[in-house]
């Protein structure tokens, strides 16, 4: 029994290490192929990103890696929705993005209880059809408290019929 456990432990350890090294190599090989297939323009853009990456802090690098992992853990539908949201967010321009960021700061100051409630509402909201979600949004206190200018910005960002 003791020997069996020992063998299983050693075997799992070897497998884990091997799997880790193999996954690393697989990513490297796949990235190499992607790099070779890129156009010169794309390569220039990646090089620009690389320079920013090199000069950024460890925290930022770790945050980006974590976001990458979390994003790829989402369903295809959710991934597409986030990509679309990003496109809209980028189209707002710096002033619009600042307005959104100011509103986002409110979430950080939320008490823990409200945060849990908001998460429950978020889960319910995800299950609603798009038109119902929009009605929900228009009825929300958040919407009521926005200025006309802010409403225009959030319309662009959140209304799916845009």
């Amino acid at each position: 029994m003791k020997w069996n456990m020992l063998i299983v432990l050693i075997f799992s350890f070897v497998l884990l290490q091997g799997g880790y090294a193999f996954a690393d190599d697989a990513i490297m090989r796949r990235n190499k192929l992607i790099w070779e297939d890129m156009t010169t323009e794309e390569k220039k853009r990646v090089i620009q990103n690389y320079r920013e990456w090199k000069s950024s802090t460890l925290e930022r690098k770790e945050r980006i890696r974590r976001n990458y992992r979390e994003f790829h853990g989402l369903s295809m539908e959710e991934q597409q929705r986030l990509k679309e949201l990003y496109r809209r967010y980028k189209s707002l321009g710096p002033a619009g993005q600042d307005t959104v960021k100011k509103r986002l700061d409110r979430i950080d100051s939320l008490p823990a209880d409200n945060r849990v409630e908001a998460e429950k509402r978020y889960d319910r909201n995800r299950e609603m059809p798009a038109h119902e979600r929009m009605q929900h949004l228009k009825r929300s206190r958040f919407w009521e408290n926005l200025s006309e200018e802010e409403k225009e910005i959030f319309k662009k960002l959140l209304f799916t019929d845009n």
């Binding site: 020997w3 976001n67 958040f142």
Partner: protein, 188 residues
């Protein structure tokens, strides 16, 4: 008839189990009387009783004697060997397991280190490094999956929080409904 035979067998079994206690007088008087009665009628149990008494007597006549020195030494050395073997049986597998784990860890760390130094060393002059001397091609390729959409991945957390914004407060309608229903309950 059959039941009587069965009772006798049970009596014999009980009596034989109780014989040592009976002979030591370590039992209740009534139980001892029952056994005595049974012994007067049962020949085989009486025989068992006598044999047991004889065995105790024989044991009493035995004398302790030391084994010959040669045999004693052999037994002791065998015992010592057994003790040593028991330690070896524990130590060898643990040492083997430790050795394997340490070797694998070091070889893995070595591989990782080699990989890292390969990344840090100036890469062989390729077209890319000739054109962009500050770019380490291996490092760039290792992070390419992130670098392709670096800005997007940097924003993902914010994008998810944007979805939460309208949900921080409960919708007004729902709040009003809830208030009304609690009022109804209070009135009833």
């Amino acid at each position: 008839m059959f039941n009587k035979k069965k009772e006798e067998i049970v009596d014999c079994k009980i009596t034989r189990d109780m014989l040592p206690a009976y002979q030591d007088r370590a039992m209740a008087e009534s139980a001892a009387r029952n056994i005595e009665q049974h012994l007067t009628v049962c020949h085989s149990c009486r025989k068992e009783d006598v044999e047991l008494k004889n065995a105790w007597y024989m044991l009493g006549t035995w004398e302790d004697c030391d084994p010959p020195e040669k045999i004693r030494m052999e037994i002791l050395s065998h015992r010592a060997k057994q003790r040593k073997m028991r330690w070896i049986k524990i130590v060898v597998p643990v040492a083997a397991a430790l050795f394997i784990v340490v070797t694998l860890t070091f070889s893995f760390k070595g591989l990782q280190h080699e990989k890292q130094t390969r990344l840090q060393l100036p890469a062989a002059p390729t077209q890319l490094s000739a054109e962009y001397p500050d770019v380490n091609e291996d490092e760039l390729i290792a992070e390419l999956h992130v670098l392709r959409d670096e800005e997007f991945y940097d924003t993902v957390e914010e994008l998810v929080r944007i979805d939460y914004l309208p949900l921080i407060d409960e919708p007004k309608q729902m709040e009003r409904d809830r208030q009304r229903s609690s009022l109804d309950v209070a009135l009833t």
